[in-house]
Point group: D2
Chain length 245, copies 4
Amino acid sequence: MSALEVVVWGENRHEQIDQYVRDIYPEGMHEAIAGGVRHHLGAGANVTTATLEQPEHGLTEERLAATDVLTWWGHKAHGEVSDEVVDRVQRHVLDGMGLLVLHSGHFSKIFKRLMGTSCTLNWRATGDEELVWTVESSHPIAEGIPHPLRIPAQEMYGERFDIPAPDELVFISSFSGGEVFRSGCTFRRGRGKIFYFSPGDQHFPVYRNDDVLKVIANGVRWAAGERTGVAPVNTRIDSRGDWGL
Amino acid sequence: MSALEVVVWGENRHEQIDQYVRDIYPEGMHEAIAGGVRHHLGAGANVTTATLEQPEHGLTEERLAATDVLTWWGHKAHGEVSDEVVDRVQRHVLDGMGLLVLHSGHFSKIFKRLMGTSCTLNWRATGDEELVWTVESSHPIAEGIPHPLRIPAQEMYGERFDIPAPDELVFISSFSGGEVFRSGCTFRRGRGKIFYFSPGDQHFPVYRNDDVLKVIANGVRWAAGERTGVAPVNTRIDSRGDWGL
Amino acid sequence: MSALEVVVWGENRHEQIDQYVRDIYPEGMHEAIAGGVRHHLGAGANVTTATLEQPEHGLTEERLAATDVLTWWGHKAHGEVSDEVVDRVQRHVLDGMGLLVLHSGHFSKIFKRLMGTSCTLNWRATGDEELVWTVESSHPIAEGIPHPLRIPAQEMYGERFDIPAPDELVFISSFSGGEVFRSGCTFRRGRGKIFYFSPGDQHFPVYRNDDVLKVIANGVRWAAGERTGVAPVNTRIDSRGDWGL
Amino acid sequence: MSALEVVVWGENRHEQIDQYVRDIYPEGMHEAIAGGVRHHLGAGANVTTATLEQPEHGLTEERLAATDVLTWWGHKAHGEVSDEVVDRVQRHVLDGMGLLVLHSGHFSKIFKRLMGTSCTLNWRATGDEELVWTVESSHPIAEGIPHPLRIPAQEMYGERFDIPAPDELVFISSFSGGEVFRSGCTFRRGRGKIFYFSPGDQHFPVYRNDDVLKVIANGVRWAAGERTGVAPVNTRIDSRGDWGL
């Protein structure tokens, strides 16, 4: 199998304007994530990055057509993502491109578009310990992940998380404050596989945690599917047997 | 329990311009559907109708706020439904209003919005016999419905139907041509319950079939939930115990 | 609608031999549970109890045939439940009798029979605080339940809980120790609806908590279905149309 | 990756006593299935067979411990399979061994054990044409399979099929008589992945159909998981942090 083409998309805004974040991620969060995927997938993946400030946010039709899996982190500039690019990403997901949505990406246009719900949740940014428990222990995304995976300080995300019931619930997290969250969820939409994973934040060095990076790398491998290059359309079948579908 | 407030929405376009359709449904398809729901739910429902040509398509904020269940039939004028009304209907569904999407409503803006997928399918309008088989025999929507329910002539809708995996698969149909279709599917989105039911068309008198009308009435009763009047928002929890949620 | 016939089954063993338990539940845990269901459902339910030491464990064919919903609590004597009664309860569930399985009932013969898995979990009986969070906020079982429901002292049950993925995940709990558990799960098996609810223990007065009792009462109401009195069998269909099913 | 260890289990009874079946499958149905898996997986699988008449039905503890995926075909002698072997197979599935259940295996002890339901269905053995439609077009089990897959003559299996709602519905079939059937279903139980596939019968040469064999080979590849060799048990966690799970 040839190497997976992986694009790590980052909003890259906090890193430009907030020294605290820049101290944690001087290279940008997207580069930290990309580095983790490279480390864990090795020659199995060709990992590049794209950011909001690039033309078409770095996500041209040509590039998406050649992408097996896209990962998405955004937070304070969700509203600046153009609807045209959101349409395009959705179309490619429905055609089979894998998508990982990370942490505050829960409120991105593309995630809300694919879920159809508000994607709201409860939160508190005071550095709770997060424990990530595996619910589907044989799922490939959980392979080699400690039970629980411990994140010493992290933003709390709590239920109710307004998403459709996931196709598979892989992880559930608890926080020091006693809250719980469905932190690892899979969804199939069209031909595309989607994995939402909540750990990760701009104010805590979560993307320095090797277990977190391993989950993301596992998710990338899991989400990769076969691309058809053909968006689904309503098709008239003229007669029985005319099923060249 | 007080009567359910039910709004039957119809595009009401074919009936205006196509004599063939008018001969089948001189009162309009929406009135045929509304009559069936009234017949089967009796005093349990207060059923009114709304149509595309009305101001705000008959779906003002005030009216939706007072609606327990909305049913939706559209076909040739999906594009004329205003985005503002689609936003509004989505918001009310997420807040707990039930929604039934009927037949060609599969390609409506509101259904695509709530599903996040293309909602495409295969079709042939040559009058196949449709047999609707019950898969979840204890589901309240299937109560009292023959197995199979027979529709002598109907438009064929065939797989693959590009929807998320439904939360519950209630009915599967077959057609004379040998095709199959997931014809009765439930989805929970936010606090709202959604039922998609494919039988029903402008060119065949399907909404004269009492079993079809009974399924729709069962669906209305099933979809009715408690309204909160509070759209979900991201909420900051300041400290443990501050959970007045 | 006539009153639901509800049978609350209790192992009633700890109460006979353990003074500590008897002090909490002098009338027996089954009577505490039955009282809660009576309180919350009022005239809507006719609630009786049955226990292990009775002939046929109080669950004769005649009684089960007249039962709408059975609740099950057992712990130290799972092995003493006769296989014949387990067969009988399973048959009635598949025919439409509702079943609530409570706490340590996770390891009962009937629950393992209906799940097909080991139903194992992790546990610690040192009095953690349990917080029960609602995941499906519009589910009828969650109606009127605080978010979170707080149980000051309770046995910890932790993931991984070896069950099939539930049809609906209604509640997730966290514990003082940081563990999480899918504490409210629904399953449809045959025509029967099953609700597993983990709060409840012999050493903590959990069945004195009115919110816990309300969840159980909600569960009873949800699980009640229509009984057919006809167990499913393989049926030969001689020809098309011979579907008197 | 080393080759998958695959065991194709066959009841091998019709082939011994029914000349009609022997004419179709002179080598036995299990050998026809094994040959198809070998053909499609090549060096990726080491495929052997086992049959009912062998000691322990050919399924010793040692052999199952070394098996990645087991396929199961049985029909007239389900009752002769020893409960001890059924217990053993169930334990290995829960520990991660993949299982394919084929056609009339729907009524085997092991399938009923893992499902918890009656697994009944409707049937007619008069040679209907079966069309197998793909519902999840991106599922690896459907890879390279025509839509529809046509089987000229086959036993009809019709709904309602009394199984738990599958985790994934991959295929739905229609028959000449107009019936429908959920013909390709996946289930996760414990750490094990299960695929039920209904095409295949002793009286029709279905296991000579290369597309059918390809589905089975795809299913074998999909069901293979990592084995732990550790059956799940209830585990007491003495204190927070004592999670060597």
